[in-house]
Amino acid sequence: MVFILQKTLIFTIPLLIVALAGMFAERSGIINIALDGIMIFGAFIGAVVALFLRTNVSFFVDHNQLLFITCMIAAALAGALFSLLLSFSAIKFNANQTIGGTALNLLAPAIALFLIKVFTSKDQLEMGMAYDTLGGRHDFSYVITNGELPDILKIFFDKMYISTYVCIILFIILSIFIYKTKTGLRIRSCGENPQAADSVGINVYKMRYLGTSISGALAGLGGYVYIATVANGTASGAVAGMGFLALAIMIFGNWHPVGIAFGALMFGFLKCLSVVYSQFEFTKNLGLPMYFYNIIPYLAVLIVLAFSAGKSRAPKAEGIPYDKGSR
């Protein structure tokens, strides 16, 4: 039981942070369908930085968690930069945001895979053995283990990654930011009624750039956290559709952090269950094929969206390029 809860939490974190990323963009009025692509790009850059630092700077091999945080920051920066492609085309040139996002989704895996293949002759970028300052050999792993704790604490503190805490704290801070601060209010107003926002002197373009860049940073971060914690620490030009799942969670969560947190937990659990079902007597005895469990999370997305679509309240101005003249 502890195992599945631990794994649920680990699967939940990237979904949580990437769904929040989607919320930031859409609340500012930009549809960020490129979450998946930005995740891939962030993951790729994070992995490149990790590989570089591990092989060239033995200080980081001694301080694994510092390395992880450095890579998370690098991934977030890369994600923010990459998302500028979207915000630039959507805000500056009033391009269709769905198409712009799709372009990014196609671009990211192509860039990542191409570079990985060119430089390593592999399909994926792996972290190998590295040497610390004393010359000791170290496997690649960010995990923090605390095997001695009682079960209930184990869920949160054993076999855990520092990214979990970073992401939860970020999630809380940013949720407060968008609801309780002046800038947050301005971002939200640009997603609801940019004309009105503009009329009181808010720079709609700036707010939309801000929203999308925060979104890109979070998605890039989420991408790296995803590969570092659940995908073998390897960048392979794919994140198994986690970005789209996050997008669905955002809609399911009604563009609200609490809903997103709930949705992410649910899908994290289902995604986890699809892999570990055979570890439990009950699900094992049902004798259903593994494909059934693999389908569940995605099927759940479709069903949940179908039912919640009527009630969902998207930001009113999302997807509509802001035109000063139409005020």
């Binding site: 794994k7 895996p109 792993s141 073998n232 559709g241 789209f244 799942l245 693999n294």
Partner: protein
Amino acid sequence: MNKLLKSSLAALLAVSLFGCTNTSSTPSEEKKEEKTEEKTEETTTNDGEFKIAVVTDVGQLMDKGFNQGTYEGAQAYADANGIPMKYYQPANGGDATDNDRIDAMKQAIENGAEIIVTPGFLQATALEAVAKEYPDVKFVFVDGWAMGYDNITAIVYKEQESGYLAGYAAVMEGYTKLGFTGGGGGSNPAVNRFGYGFVQGADAAAKEKGVDVEVKYSYKYGETFSASTELQTQIAGWYADGTEVVFSCGGSMFQSVLSAAAEYEDARIIGVDVDQSGESSKVITSAVKGLSASVEQVLGQYYDGKWDAELANVAQNLGAAENATGLPEDTWSLTNFSLDDYKALLGKIANGEVTPDANVPDDANNGDWLTNFEKVKVVFE
């Protein structure tokens, strides 16, 4: 607009749904859309022709295992003799089809290849087509069989012997809860022989020691020998459940097993095909086969002009007697099962005193054929 958004979103979701369910074993759905052109790289630069070629099947070249071992053998010979060589990975990576492989082989021939090393039993169809069309080009079919063409020679290994030694060593070392995760979805005979041998070896050692051994056995993930989230989580579940050693049988799958093992201090791994102890301190031993050595040897025979006499339409079945199967001795790390114990057992296998059964079903993806063991309980997943 909203309607348009919703429908396009639904379409994207459907695409990702399809992708994810369809390729549960491949972590990268996007790879499909990636029309990755075959990647070529020159190892020996020469403005002439690349006379030796290596064409992989589905796995990536640098998989730290099967393909890499083969490649290194060819490279060693090419470098030593100054013969230009080049490798080719068929398009579409893990989803490469026979046509992709045919294209890759033909490209190799266009680039001047006179002998092509093709590792992997999946090559059969492509190999037959190309070999028929180009009777002057020689082919080395690693993990294959004689196909009735004089320009094909096959090398096949007694993987069951390496697996047997690994299983025996693990149990003798004191481990009683083992795991086996194999690539190829149960249809790769080499992987199946490794697995079958592993269980037999564990059983033999368990009988000797009088202990009960449990082996978790799975082909569920890694159909294309790639690492995946699913595989990592599955193996982490095994370790959480008390499994002590997992035999990671398939190139890049090692990465997943390693990530899972990283979360458990006592978790150990057995590598495959080549000595993988350099990858992690958690690797206790590796069930190896002499890929590099035998590829090098075959290339040598070819260039010495012995093809027709010794290799044409011949399948060499290499095992411990030919020094082609076993565990790596240079990096020996087991303590309860010493190197001398190992050598004694290896000698018995080599002289035929111990002969692990190699009779595996074509489709091994079920637990039915793994039942007749006295002391080993196979839990099939």
